[in-house]
């Protein structure tokens, strides 16, 4: 069955450092992968989409990589700030997965001053 794995342990880093979050998937051949941010008690908010033919995508301090051979996406936040503290969810999708996205369980990031 299809599986999406994100680090279940919270990631604690110091302000100014780069945070790297991992998303691994199995039994998937995603045509794209999306990343979302979720704050406590709120709905997820879309951040970035990367397609299978893209190795890397950037948006301001965010960078996403997509390695279809390793079946992995890495999500980087450079120069992290306390305001980046949140849970980050990945969601691989493909043309065979129909209309709905399945999400990983998310990794909690805590950035301390």
């Amino acid at each position: 069955s299809q599986k999406i794995e994100q680090n279940s342990e919270a990631l604690n880093i110091q302000e100014g450092k780069t945070a790297t979050l991992t998303c691994n998937y199995t039994n998937y051949s995603p045509a794209y992968l999306q990343w979302y941010r979720q704050d406590p008690g709120r709905g997820p908010v879309f951040l970035l989409l990367i397609r299978e033919n893209e190795k890397e995508k950037r948006k301001e301090r965010l960078k996403v990589t997509f390695d279809t051979t390793l079946k992995q996406s890495l999500f980087h936040i450079t120069a992290s700030q306390p305001a980046d503290s949140a849970t980050y969810l990945c969601a691989p999708g493909n043309s065979n997965s129909g209309y709905a996205l399945n999400f990983g369980k998310g990794t909690s990031l805590l950035v301390t001053p």
Binding site: Y32, R42, G43, L49, G93, A100, N102, F103
Partner: protein, 113 residues
């Protein structure tokens, strides 16, 4: 800005009651989704609708039904609420065509006593 609204932020119901959760989006999106989110289990898809009057079961449809009579509104119905349906319920919408970002509502935290 896309807006997805949900009828209640918090709801308390008794076991056996019929519960309606309403979701409205204002961006003319074809696709709409209902998820529930529980600690340690992540986001799980209950039902989705790819167009008016169309619906598809997600991963955990048991105990739920949905209604989509108008394009902008997607309702989730708990036919006979049970304590194991206590959860955070999240509605989302997006344009048709796979790969589009999903816009989430703020969520309804439902407690069934």
């Amino acid at each position: 800005d896309v807006k997805v609204t949900q009828s209640s932020r918090y709801l308390v119901k008794r076991t056996g009651e019929k519960v309606f959760l309403e979701c409205v989006q204002d961006m003319d999106h074809e696709n709409m989704f209902w998820y529930r989110q529980d600690p340690g289990l992540g986001l799980r898809l209950i039902y989705f609708s790819y167009d008016v009057k169309m619906k598809e079961k997600g991963d955990i449809p048991e105990g739920y039904s949905v209604s989509r009579e108008k394009k902008e509104r997607f309702s989730l119905i708990l036919e006979s609420a049970s304590t194991n349906q206590t959860s955070m319920y999240l509605c989302a919408s997006r344009f048709s065509g796979r790969g589009g970002e999903q816009f989430f509502g703020p969520g309804t935290r439902l407690t069934v006593l």
